[in-house]
């Protein structure tokens, strides 16, 4: 059997990381992996190579444009966008992992293999409208992440967080499955776009079972983006997981879940107008709850990782507001926001590694005075935090700007006002990060402890942080290139409905 180039194009973004994952797994069989430096180097090199190859391949594919559908895989611009997005997140994660796992003393090949499998699942998840493939993708990236959260088995909290994430995640997955089955039962097809048109023709658009099915599917997505009230796993899972993995989860899981939501709800279910309207109403209510709860809870956290977890919940709220506005420009804004969010959050978690904070030492106290000791990291931290707060002229501002603009344009002025108030509140806890870094001197105790320890060396994590900061700055100064050239084309050429 020989495949045409476009068929290869659909498969290779999945095959490259899968192949890399298998190779890394084989390498990690060596029981000396933890002690022999060159094996560790080779494993990380392979993983980085796999991610880099798929990034390179996808950017090349981006130039040729959307590919025809093959075997339920739509390798269109939106899927390519997702692939590039996930590859960048994974590359930053791998770079940070090298330093973080060395600091923790827990360098294992399996973490890399799991990460690469998660990448495969994510690309699959965001490039299909066939329910079974969708579910396959969901599980393929969820299961490795459950394991990754608890990967540092030496820490008992780590296992606790992983178990919590797994149990709640399993429930959400079964709800998602149930929703898909209901839709299938009424329409007789797993292809969601076809199902939507069949249901419309049969006049079942507002059938209670269809609504329940759609709502359950929505629940599955909302769990992954950690929207209130499906957010409880987030702080525990982030706190338990290694910093780079927490960063990866906060960015990539949320990102692909939103992109898949885009493909399913305004995309495939676009013809089911009334269902879409109902789901938008649900999203509006939940977005408000997410913004309020996420931001207010983040205010009182003393642990940076938990603060970032609640901040990531609140960012899900802003992104959901983009769905409430529901215009192509708003979806463009959502994708743009995701790109910047990727850089801001990977950078923020990367800082923890770059500062050498391991285990439970991730409170604001532990950050005191570090900004002056490591000026480049401090500068990046200021970029990330101010951008997360949405202060111009940084990338985060433009993400919010695009979404709020569409909200105001579609008549949701009240929601826009709520959104800006939420970002005002959020500015306080992001400033706390900067207060600790720059405005507070380290305590005498911390100074003494620091002088006992060897100096922190985390060159790769530092490089990852600088790359992230560059992306955030680019989002602030060449925002139109990123928004028009990248995000907008993914929307218009990916989701044909929105052209």
């Amino acid at each position: 059997m020989s495949l045409t180039p476009s068929q290869w194009a659909a498969l290779l973004p999945l095959l490259i990381p899968a192949f890399g994952a298998c190779l890394v797994t084989l390498m990690s069989i060596d029981k000396d992996q933890a002690t022999t430096k060159w094996i560790r180097g080779a494993m990380y090199g392979t993983a980085l190579l796999a991610v880099g190859a798929s990034f390179w391949y996808l950017t090349d594919l981006w130039r040729t444009g959307s590919q025809p559908t093959f075997f339920q895989l739509h390798m269109d611009r939106l899927a390519q966008f997702t692939g590039i997005f996930v590859a960048v997140a994974a590359a930053l994660t791998i770079l940070q992992s090298w330093d973080h796992f060395h600091q923790e003393g827990w360098v294992k090949g399996e973490t890399l293999a799991l990460l690469l499998f998660a990448v495969v699942g994510m690309v699959l998840f965001a490039s299909t409208t066939h329910f079974v493939v969708l579910f396959l993708g969901l599980e393929l990236f969820s299961l490795p992440l459950y394991a990754l959260v608890g990967t540092v088995r030496a820490r008992s909290e780590s296992a606790e967080g992983g178990m919590k994430y797994f149990l709640t995640g399993a429930v959400a997955s079964s709800c998602f499955l149930m929703g898909g089955v209901l839709i299938y039962g009424l329409s007789g097809t797993f292809d969601l776009a076809a199902a939507a048109s069949i249901l419309t023709v049969q006049g079942l658009a507002l059938d209670p079972l269809v609504l329940v099915g759609a709502a359950l599917m929505l629940l599955g997505f909302l769990f992954k983006v950690s929207a209130v009230p499906f957010h409880q796993w987030t702080p525990d899972a982030y706190e338990a997981s290694p910093h780079p993995i927490a960063g990866f989860m906060s960015v990539a899981t949320k990102g692909v879940a939103f992109i898949a939501l885009l493909r399913v709800f305004p995309g495939s279910f676009g013809s089911l107008g009334p269902v879409g309207a109902k789901m938008q109403a649900v999203l509006a209510v939940l977005a408000v709850a997410t913004l309020v709860l996420g931001n207010l809870t983040a205010l009182v956290q003393s642990n940076v990782k938990r603060m970032l977890a609640y901040s990531s919940i609140s960012h899900a709220g802003y992104l959901m507001l983009g769905f409430v506005a529901g215009t192509p420009a708003a979806y463009t804004g959502v994708l743009f926001y995701l790109v910047i969010y990727l850089a801001m959050n990977m950078g923020a978690f990367g800082l923890l590694t770059a500062f050498g904070l391991v285990g439970e030492q991730t409170t604001f106290e532990d950050l005191r005075g570090l900004g002056w000791k490591r000026p480049a990291m401090g500068f990046s931290a200021a970029v990330f935090m101010l951008s997360l707060a949405g202060i111009p002229p940084l990338g985060g501002f433009y993400g919010k700007y695009m979404i709020f603009r569409e909200l105001v344009g579609t008549g949701h002025v009240g929601l826009a006002i709520l959104g800006v108030i939420a970002s005002l509140v959020s500015a306080y806890y992001y400033l706390r990060f900067l207060v600790a870094l720059f405005l507070q001197a380290p305590s005498a105790e911390a100074e003494r402890l620091a002088s006992d320890r060897p100096a922190v060396r985390a060159p790769l994590a530092g490089a990852a942080v600088l790359v992230s900061a560059a992306i955030v700055l680019a989002g602030g100064f060449i925002q139109y290139a990123l928004a028009d050239g990248f995000a907008k084309r993914a929307i218009t050429e990916g989701l044909g409905l929105l052209r």
Partner: protein, 542 residues
């Protein structure tokens, strides 16, 4: 050089940023070099701005220099990179470029560490201030307006006093709260207008129902009023001023507050003329309260710096009163008063800083008889004090006189009454300044071991005198020949007010007879009759 000929404003605005980032990249050990480079750079910018902005003959509309080019279109809204210097902002731009190097020189030895970073932040702040002043597109204005917060936040938070973290956060969040709500109004109007060009937006605004215009004006006004700061939105100011390092206080008082008043005259009033006329009375009332309240609170302060901070509230109240009068003379007075306040209060903060650097205290009670120990310092302080009080022949007098004159003659029924009330602020100003002066400088020398006076060992040195001399020259110049500084703004202000009053304001259609009658009534009416909010708010959303 061709690029420079085409983009002189871009150069002026962004050269400080480029230099600032270079200074940030310098190693820590070269802090003193960075301080010197920062000062020389800021001085060069000042000289260039003087040469370019005063060297160019203004065009017919008063525009000295302008740049406009399409920047980007995001979510369907085009943003123009539009900068211009015209009669309204010419002197504020020069004030900014003047105060930055002066402040750097004036606080040369105030900081002991991280001098390079401080100089760099100062230059970034200069970019923010200049950019906001010259921006002619509301999106660009918003960017600079917000970006200004970042360097100021760090200047207060890192180099400030004991409560610096609280003050910095309060300053940041307070200002942000106003501007975020303003952003929503901006987006709403930009949606209607299809862009951020102020003229187009003004046109779109005039087509909206009056109630909506009112709300939009309020959103604009609140954002600017926080910056001014107008009572009761002033509470961030004393904290920020007292905690900020001297240089931060000077620039905060000297330029940042001006941007609030400038925002009113550049955007809020011309874009919503009807709403501005409608809300002139509440704004004027709040200004009068700010004038009197600020002065009363200043009187009871024990900390000199806090006294100066509250005097800012009072002085900026005059600016807002002048703007609310909607007369040419009142608005011109407000323009001049903004410059006056920048010079006088900036100078006061510098002087207080010089005193603090020597005595390590700012409490009035710790001093006494300073004049004996520091005669030169006392002389300068006296001159600046008199200018702050508004003694004739100093700058303060002209601005306040014009503002009161404009308010008195505004034709508004409340005008004369408010002018009388505001005049009491001038008297109170003399009281708190002179009383402070008396306690600190006159009297027997405070011989107490712990007192501030005891720690004063040296009078001003050559550097400090060099800083104060240009200020004294300006104080006298502006007092004797204010025309130099307000000639440029006369035509644009007159044109602006003509526009504002042209569309026959709905709520103030009064025949002269009615006018006289109501004025007479107001003049004898008790203060209680002036509850402003209730009727005004009622009319906005019928």
């Amino acid at each position: 050089m061709t690029w420079l000929n085409l983009h002189p404003l871009t150069f002026l605005v962004f050269a400080p940023t480029v230099l600032g980032f270079l200074l940030m990249a310098l190693p820590h050990a070269l802090g003193k070099l960075a301080r010197l480079l920062g000062f020389l750079g800021a001085l060069a910018i000042f000289v260039l701005s003087l040469a370019w902005l005063l060297g160019h003959a203004p065009a017919a509309g008063g525009t000295v220099m302008a740049e406009r080019t399409p920047w980007f279109t995001l979510v369907g809204l085009p943003v123009d990179y539009a900068l211009a210097v015209d009669g309204l902002n010419l002197w504020l731009v020069l004030l900014t470029t003047f105060l930055v190097p002066l402040t750097m020189l004036g606080t040369w030895n105030s900081l002991k560490d991280r001098m390079g970073t401080f100089a760099a932040l100062f230059l970034l702040l200069e970019t923010g201030m200049l950019g906001a002043l010259v921006a002619q597109d509301l999106f660009v204005f918003y960017l600079f307006w917000e970006a200004m917060l970042i360097p100021m936040y760090f200047m207060i938070g890192v180099w400030g006093g004991d409560e610096r973290r609280y003050a910095a956060n309060k300053f940041f969040l307070y200002t942000l709260s106003g501007s975020l709500l303003w952003l929503v109004a901006l987006l709403y109007l930009a949606n209607k207008a299809g862009g951020f060009n102020p003229a187009v937006m003004a046109q779109a605004a005039s087509a909206l129902p009056f109630g909506v215009q009112g709300w939009l004006f309020i959103a604009f006004a609140v954002a600017f009023a926080i910056k001014v700061p107008l009572f009761p939105l002033h509470t961030w100011l004393p904290d920020a001023h007292v905690q900020a390092p001297t240089a931060g206080s000077v620039i905060l008082a000297g330029v940042l507050l001006k941007l609030g008043g400038y925002g009113f005259i550049r955007f809020a009033i011309p874009m919503f003329p009807q709403a501005a006329m409608h809300y002139a009375k509440p704004i004027a009332l709040l200004s009068v309260i700010a004038i009197v309240y600020g002065a009363l609170v200043a009187m009871v302060q024990r900390d000199i710096k806090k006294l100066v901070a509250y005097s800012s509230v009072s002085h900026m109240g005059f600016v807002m009163l002048g703007l609310a009068s909607m007369t040419v003379i009142g608005t011109q007075g407000a323009m001049l008063q903004m410059l006056n306040h920048g010079i006088s209060t900036g100078a006061l903060f510098l002087l207080v800083g010089m005193l603090y650097d020597r005595a390590h205290t700012r409490m009035i009670a710790d001093f006494g008889g300073v004049a004996v120990k520091m005669p030169i310092f006392t002389t300068f302080f006296m001159i600046v004090t008199l200018s702050s009080i508004g003694l004739p022949l100093t700058n303060g007098f002209v601005g306040e006189f014009w503002i009161l004159n404009g308010t008195f003659l505004s034709g508004f029924p409340w005008g004369r009454f408010y002018a009388c009330l505001a005049t009491s602020g001038v008297v109170l100003g003399a009281v708190y300044m002179l009383w402070m002066f008396m306690r600190v400088f006159w009297g027997p020398e405070n011989k107490d071991e712990d007192s501030g006076t005891h720690h004063l060992h040296s009078d001003l040195n050559a550097r400090e005198i060099a800083v104060m001399l240009p200020i004294v020259v300006l104080i006298v110049w502006m007092g004797v020949h204010p025309k130099t500084f307000v000639a440029a703004s006369e035509t644009p202000v007159a044109a602006l007010l003509q526009e504002v009053k042209a569309p026959a304001p709905r709520t103030f259609v009064l025949t002269p007879a009615v006018h006289e009658a109501s004025e007479a009534h107001e003049a004898v009416g008790a203060a209680g009759a002036h509850a402003p909010e209730a009727p005004a708010a009622h009319e906005v959303h019928p």
